[in-house]
Symmetry: C2
Subunit: 415 residues, 2 copies
Amino acid sequence: MPEPDNTFAAANGLLHRRVFLKTGVAAVGLLTAQVAAGTRDPWMKEPGAALGESGAPSDHESHVVRTGIGSQPGTTGSGASRTPLEFLDGIVTPSRLHFERHHSGIPDIDPARHRLVIHGLVDRPLSFDVESLDRYPRASRIQFLECSGNSGSATAPVAAADATCSSIHGLVSGSEWGGVPLAVLLDEAGVKPKASWVVAGGADAAMMSRSIPLAKIMDDAIVALYQNGERLRPANGYPMRLFLPGWEGNASVKWLRSLTVTDQPAMTKDETSKYSDLMHDGKAKLFTFPMGVKSVITSPSPGLAMAGSGVYQISGIAWSGAGSVRRVEVSADGGNTWAESALDAHVLPKSLTRFRSAWRWDGKPAVIMSRAIDETGAVQPTRVAALAGLANFYHHNGMQAWQVGADGGVTNVYV
Amino acid sequence: MPEPDNTFAAANGLLHRRVFLKTGVAAVGLLTAQVAAGTRDPWMKEPGAALGESGAPSDHESHVVRTGIGSQPGTTGSGASRTPLEFLDGIVTPSRLHFERHHSGIPDIDPARHRLVIHGLVDRPLSFDVESLDRYPRASRIQFLECSGNSGSATAPVAAADATCSSIHGLVSGSEWGGVPLAVLLDEAGVKPKASWVVAGGADAAMMSRSIPLAKIMDDAIVALYQNGERLRPANGYPMRLFLPGWEGNASVKWLRSLTVTDQPAMTKDETSKYSDLMHDGKAKLFTFPMGVKSVITSPSPGLAMAGSGVYQISGIAWSGAGSVRRVEVSADGGNTWAESALDAHVLPKSLTRFRSAWRWDGKPAVIMSRAIDETGAVQPTRVAALAGLANFYHHNGMQAWQVGADGGVTNVYV
């Protein structure tokens, strides 16, 4: 039966959500339902596995691991690993799959010996161990963390044919981060009037060090102690890290050991030799902390082949360092027409937001894309527009396009 | 310096949140801040561990595991394990620590062979595998799951002196659950007018089977495929389970394989021989699904000793099967006076909600308690009031009291 024209929310098969019904996706017409219900699969015939102290994923999901593990020559711990976005759903990333970016590996810190020192332009220099921080008021929030180098490979002149969603965009993850608001600790230390920056130092061998404006520290920064309900894991800063909601991940210094209150940035190696944004005139922007508004379709995406024409869910994540995502739009014709996507119930500030659209794929080649708009009205730029300003790969938030082939394969493409 | 009277929000040291500052918890007065900042702990002297496909907690946190693993005689997989609430924070429980309750162990299901059948009083019986469900619109929400037997040990006549927060209350956890709304699937099957119940069956050897009112199925029930961003784990129903927000955990049938639409409950073994509420007159209530409004202080609690008088954070979780938590109150004098507790930012319906209060402990024995009020105005009852109605241990939501001793030890107590 032909669809009435008002079935479609945008060109090339993007459906209104209500039209998802009567899809024919299910195998309709069982011989008899009783036959199906009467079978006994082998795992129903004997008792299953034992209870345990700590659970694990199914062996059938062993392919869902961090990807693209790359380290600098001669090292094993200096580099990055990526969240397998294409296999995940929702807005929380399992801690075991949170992306990694380390500059000298993961230190094995004894929490009983670790201290955080707050000093510099304060009335009372203070030292905290985990136990003392545990007595302070905490806050927990679900927020994203994104490496400023995420999606940097999309700035290359030619679209990598073998790229996947995680290989391009897997340096972003979402977690419930819990810890002590830094405003509380700095108020206790007593910040001197001339203070305007805080230099955060890490307890890794790289001695990661970044300068953070005092205003951010007093706004919503925390010393994070918990991630997704449990203590931070070593790869994410155990036993404590700085967490700066919405800002580039590198500034949220892991294994935090010192906060030096100053009246100027320290111009550390980590904010001058890298993590600065080269412009086309040869100058570099320093301290461009907030991550821009962004989205990416995680399904379908490369590696998740389509099984013939019919109705599919298009799903992905959107986020903005400026606050909440207001709206996400999806295109199935390479950006010519757009339909509003449905957002999951929890649209939280500076968090991943899950969007979903229904798409009736006709089996012909198509280009699917998404774009996000945040609460400030900022619109995710096209790839070309995003590249116009900067000459390096940091902070790239251009739209991602996926080419769906007639065979159902999905590949990375520029439009 | 003596505190002014308006410092306190309730008797026996409960503070207004703003008074948390200037606590003296930190070790003030370092010899010099430079000395502290100049030290180099051993883990700063050489590169750390390598990047990896899947992360793990710190070895220093090996005590944070599920507790109270108890199985029926002669079995290893029929029983329960508990979430270690006292070591966790926030509202999300790591999937590895989600409580377990199985009736014949954890089946090892091959997702390629597993099917969900919807049949009975429908126009079109349907069969779904994981791949076909993946094409349907999904939704994800952060919600609690609680076994109806949770806190049952608090109905015993004498308070167990060796009980912990998790041994009494650890059959509740919070997760982001993602899956396909059942209303979509049942609409596609076409529910016949006389239908009023749905009987859900599991693919475990116990063939868990529960009757669910059709109204709940069409309201907010999902076939869950994801938990905390990744595929369900085997202990929680891989590859698919029923999830009924706010209702007793047993009804959210794991390893879901059949939904039989009927015009009456099936009166299965699992809803008659157990999971029914015995009353004092010898009759039993059937189908009391929603979990009541409830809260418990997780810190301090048994096993987390207090280190002398001073300011501490009191923190815990509150939840209600009827919707959102409106308010939590904390008492430090055994329930005579109460102070409103601060709630974390995310107060979500049918989810764990984290509450926090500041308490200046004077070092003398004290009894701390919490009580929650939900959006319907329902107030968590005292233990005695909760016991007045029922004669068995299901659905106990009475207030939990902890005795803080002069030595800083914390024990389970009835008031």
